[in-house]
Symmetry: C2
């Protein structure tokens, strides 16, 4: 039978809510975990037990919805005047959607330029007040903090403590869907909140005896914004992976601890490696994710080659966003001759090489 | 706890499969049914119990995945050489993804022009062989039929009998999620397969005593391609709702019967009504669907005004596709001043009218 409970209700015992918290839900969470069918063989590791957590199938197209349902519900409970965030895209879409559902105004400050078309259209259509800022993500975040304090606005960036609490539910689902914790979790790292949240979730489930183990956490920044790998913030991060183009991760310390405590690693992958993994997912597994999401698979491929990973391990790659968020990257990557062909079967047979 | 079963496995007893059918799954189905929070009041019908079935959260972004998992699984079982379809977009994306997962070549014939960006990028990235045809959808379908017969290709358009069988599972889920069948189902009508499939599903669940009743089926064509409403095929259908721009529906007869048997109706809505409903969904409920999908809500609004619908009825509107499939429509609809603002709190406060 079919559960239609809001994410917060399903995992209420592990979340900072009471029965009085007004739940704002858009059908978030409960995303598929899909077993790889072709990639392990194609990569030369046929014994891998590999699965993908499709977070792009959340209502606004990214994992952000898991944290946002909680952040907005708590903002309503606290009688916030409005909500505000700085965003490169996915956060703004999610914040705008949940705020709209709750009847709250959502202000979005975004760095001018560098924003994927689908994401911006989404937030504006949901009714967000979008303001372009002459500055990068970090400057936008500073402005958000300054404005929120004196105007009773709730900040819904990942510095909002409820965001990560909501996001940890993805780890719960992975354990339930696999029937165990994976040996390794591979995940993109941008603001570093999501890897931190998954680690909380896996630890929580082990403590609650819902899992016997926790995975090694392997997080991957894009090379051009790999602040944690380099050990210092990056003033002008550059990568095609716009959703993880962040030069000073808000959850840096917690993410570093997650990698350390779990015997994992924070590493980086190049734009080229990300784009290759992105294309491999579509071509071998029929999965269309955001370019940034493919940093997890790119990282796995890198570490398979390095010999870090046991060859028959159980591995989950988190795919954080929907490929439809960024159709241009797909179109730039593919070649197709779309000149019209006459509607004639024998002519078509020739074109199709049948 | 969390079910991670493939759609076919979950509803195996109601589907034409055996234990030997090789199941090809991408995590389809199990989509949210979300209760409206703001729209009933905003429309002036606060007593309506209204919900939305978010079929855009399927793996390739549309309801087509429900039928395609079955069509491709059966094609593999029948040892097809490859699969082929004519498509305005969503079908091609779905067919390409499932074929890729199965290791089959997918040929897509599409009418040159009039194709939404995200949809085309998707099919090509999944590895489909896309061929643009000088002709409309109906001509493309003729070519598909001609080529399939003599080349052992499986046609995966909705004339494939397994497609509608798979799609009927959405009705099963609606019943389970509501705890009953709705009084009315509102749904877009293009090729007329989906309304036919839902009706099969509701009837099946009533016969199996999993529901006490069946809903009245209200299907909506776009005015510019309203063949069923006009009572004759339309040679050159025109509507902004590209996913239902079909002049000669393949499932015309079955859809007409569904409306008749259920005391429902096949009706039409204008492009203007569709776009208004599309914007209302985003602005009041935080739902971003394909423009075509909003034909269901546009139809409901039309019939609320006509007085056809009981004011405290339980109503489900099917939203067939993801709004991210067509970001341009969103951008054309919204206005936003995105000229960069200086990063100065007092300046921002002024812009934000705080």
């Amino acid at each position: 039978m079919h559960s239609n409970l809001a994410l917060i209700k399903r995992y209420q015992e592990f979340l900072p809510v009471s029965d009085k918290t007004p739940i704002v839900s858009l059908g978030e969470g409960n995303t598929p975990l899909v077993a790889a069918r072709n990639l392990p063989g194609a990569l030369g590791y046929p014994q891998l037990s590999l699965s993908f957590k499709l977070e792009g199938l959340n209502p606004t197209g990214s994992f952000k919805d898991r944290g946002m349902t909680l952040a907005i519900s708590k903002a309503v409970e606290a009688r916030a005047r409005a909500v505000i965030c700085a965003s490169t895209g996915n956060t703004s879409a999610s914040a705008a959607a949940f705020a709209t559902k709750a009847g709250l105004t959502c202000y979005v400050l975004l760095p001018a330029g560098h924003v994927a078309l689908g994401k911006l259209a989404q937030a504006i259509l949901y009714g967000a007040r979008v303001i372009a800022l002459a500055g990068n993500f970090d400057v936008a975040l500073d402005m958000v903090r300054a404005l929120a304090d004196e105007n009773n606005l709730t900040v819904v960036n990942s510095i909002n403590p409820f965001r990560l609490e909501g996001q940890k539910t993805a780890a719960f689902e992975v354990v339930e869907q696999l029937g165990r914790a994976p040996d390794y979790l591979f995940i993109p790292v941008g603001n570093a909140g999501n890897i931190s949240a998954y680690w909380r979730g896996f630890k929580t489930y082990k403590e609650a005896r819902r899992a016997d183990s926790t995975p090694k956490m392997f997080g991957f920044e894009a090379e051009g914004s790999a602040a944690m790998v380099r050990g210092q913030p990056i003033a002008n991060p550059e990568t095609i992976a716009s959703a993880i183009r962040i030069g000073n991760p808000a959850s840096w310390q917690e993410a570093a601890r997650a990698a350390q405590e779990s015997n994992g690693k924070i590493d980086s992958v190049s734009d080229q490696e990300i784009l290759e993994a992105y294309a491999l997912l579509a071509k071998h597994e029929g999965i269309f994710c955001e370019p940034s999401s493919a940093a997890s698979l790119a990282g796995l491929i890198k570490h398979l080659k390095l010999g870090t990973v046991i060859k028959d391990a159980t591995i989950t790659c988190v795919l954080t966003g929907n490929g439809l968020k960024d159709p241009n990257t797909a179109l730039e990557l593919v070649k197709a001759d779309l000149s019209p062909v006459a509607p004639d079967p024998s002519k078509l047979k020739e074109v199709m090489q049948l």
